[in-house]
Amino acid sequence: MSTDLNVVEHPRGQGDLSPLLANAPSIDFGKNRGLELENVRVHYCLFEAPMAQAKELIPPSLHPGNPAHMSITGYSVADSEIGPFEYAVIALGCRAGIKPHMLTLSSFFSTPAACEYFAENFGYDGAVANVKTSRFHHETSTNVELEGGRVILDVATEYPRQLLGTGQVKYPTPLNVAKLGDHQGLVRVDIGYEYRETERGEIRLRQFSAGDLTDQKLEPTNAISGASSDVGMQFSASSGIIDLETMASAGGLRWLGSK
């Protein structure tokens, strides 16, 4: 029987993400920056996903959650130093040891400036598209439309119900396949949140083009819950990177710089 935490036999990912590194975003560590977003509407939709598909996508340094799960998140940023913008992220839930993370599978930004900033500073390998997250009284919706008008994502959280208090939504830390300084692997996107209000509702997935969003490798199954929140977001300058093969608990997580 094992007596070393580093070899706890949780199911580990079997995905080989190394081919993605060749064209992955490169963050110039030391010159990279964080970002302060004062007013953001976050539309967070959580789904279950097939375990077999999840294992094929997650690298060996990570575990899938139990059950396997994925998120579709839309962000509408009222204003910022790079102007107003919207973005949407499709991600797969995973664990680095005990820590919940979301491994980015695809991302879409409404402006070239935002797309570039998020690539250079946080490692998002995004595309520019028509992205829109809108909150109404009957639903919050997130749409992604490619040039030419093809809608590849349309998800809504219906029958919203306001929750009491703040801080009810626990957003896992995003991970992006990227290079950070001289290192390459999974760059952590560390974000602080200031919660103001949250509505929860029922998810309706009206369009999910798996070919465009997950390279046909993952499809959502059971909807878990949708939440629409008014938050402030504080992105730290990226400094943490997880190896693709070695678990964080076994030394696979490296903090660059002073941390």
Binding site: M1, S2, T3, D4, L5, V8, E9, H10, P11, L46, E48, H63, G65, N66, P67, H69, G93, R95, A96, G97, I98, K99, P100, L163, L164, G165, G167, Q168, V169, K170, P172, T198, R200, N222, I224, S225, A227, G240, A248, S249, G251, L253, W255
Partner: protein, 372 residues
């Protein structure tokens, strides 16, 4: 101060044929030894779908096996999940009473509502309604156990008049407990005259105000049952060794393994934003930060890992804070060899328990019997 043990029945991978049998057999051996050594209670949890962490989907069956092979130890049924999608209220009352009959009146009845999406989502349970159903269930159980016939029209379940059988041996019924993780649940336990079974162990000082508030509140409780259970039990982790380095080494492995397994499930608080699930469940306070190499090596405060002297000090702190019982997990995922677990339990009974014997306890005689 009384002591108990609790079983999650956590199973190491790979899940080959026979591995669950090994875990169940080892756990039964631990229960037998606990009985012989004078531990007061053996608890078994109810969990579903939590691979590795807990394969204990039918706790009353495990406890029936314990009942058959032990003499004095009380049997903690639960935490029985008071959620209609998992258990009809009648089925929980029946199973609790059945075990009480079978064991000759040794049941402690723990109640709760689950804290993971893995479980509640798997059964299609309504996450927002679990507090409501729990409250309705705990008021119904004593009536089911004591009335000749029972009928009910409620929000979580309704039923025409029926005789709910068997009736428990204990008069009027088994003591009832509430699993307490989120701050404030201890108050709900006190208001209902139910025992506080604290699962979210933090440091001792942090919990003292909670215990004080519980004591204060229960004085004016409106009991859901026919008796008031005013005891506070604290779940804890036991690894006792004369050699401190060894104790800490194996204690860390044990605790880190448990934490790592527990973290693989999806908590409700991570999945479904809800007013009724704001706190992290499943013993979040135990989890040291895996990103912090130093923290990962530390045994969190308040846990019973160390030499007998270390553990006496920790138990005394819990006692001074107001706890009546400490209920120990003694292994996780079989990460400790069975011999080490049994040795740790024996050493605890020999060196620690005598410091906390109440008048009238006859644990010395029981230990002498165990020593053969």
């Amino acid at each position: 101060m009384k002591f108990g043990i609790i079983f999650e029945l956590s199973v190491p991978r790979p899940f080959e044929n026979g591995v669950e049998k090994m875990v169940f057999d080892n756990s039964l051996e631990q229960a037998r030894l606990a009985d012989e050594l004078g531990f007061e209670s053996a608890w078994c949890v109810e969990h579903h779908f939590l691979e590795e962490y807990s394969h204990s989907s039918c706790p009353e069956m495990f406890l029936s096996a314990c009942a058959a092979t032990t003499k004095d130890i009380r049997l903690g049924f639960g935490i029985a999940t008071c959620v209609p999608a998992l258990n009809h209220a009648v089925r929980l009352a029946e199973r609790g009473a059945f075990l009480d009959v079978l064991s000759g009146g040794r049941v402690e009845f723990g109640t709760g509502r689950s804290s993971t999406w893995t479980e509640l989502g798997g059964f299609g349970a309504a996450v927002d309604d679990t507090k409501r159903s729990w409250d309705e269930y705990v008021r119904a159980f004593p009536k089911m156990w004591t009335q000749e016939r029972f009928s009910h029209e409620g929000q979580s379940f309704s039923m025409p008049e029926r005789a709910i059988l068997p009736k428990p041996v204990q008069d009027p019924h088994p003591p009832m407990w509430v699993a307490v993780t989120a701050p404030g649940t201890e108050i709900e336990a006190a208001e209902r005259g139910m025992g506080c079974l604290l699962l979210s162990v933090g440091n001792v000082a942090k919990n003292k105000p909670r215990f004080d508030k519980y004591r204060e509140t229960i004085k004016n409780c409106t009991p859901v049952g026919h008796t008031v259970n005013d005891r506070i039990a604290v779940m804890n982790w036991l690894y006792c060794d004369e050699d401190q380095d060894e104790a800490v080494k194996y204690g860390e492995i044990f605790i880190n393994t448990f934490s790592s397994m527990a973290a693989q499930a999806i908590e409700i608080s991570q999945a479904v934003p809800s007013d009724s699930y704001k706190a992290i469940g499943l013993l979040g306070n135990l989890r040291t930060d895996p990103d912090d190499g130093q923290m990962r090596k530390k045994v969190p405060g308040g846990l019973c890992v160390g030499t007998p002297e270390d553990i006496i000090q920790t138990v005394q702190e819990w006692k001074d804070a107001g706890a009546d019982q400490i209920i120990f997990m003694v292994n996780a995922r079989e990460v400790l060899e069975q011999d080490k677990v049994l040795k740790s339990m024996r050493l605890f009974a020999e060196k620690v328990m005598p410091h906390f014997e109440d008048e009238g306890d006859n644990v010395v005689e029981m230990r002498a019997r165990a020593a053969g």
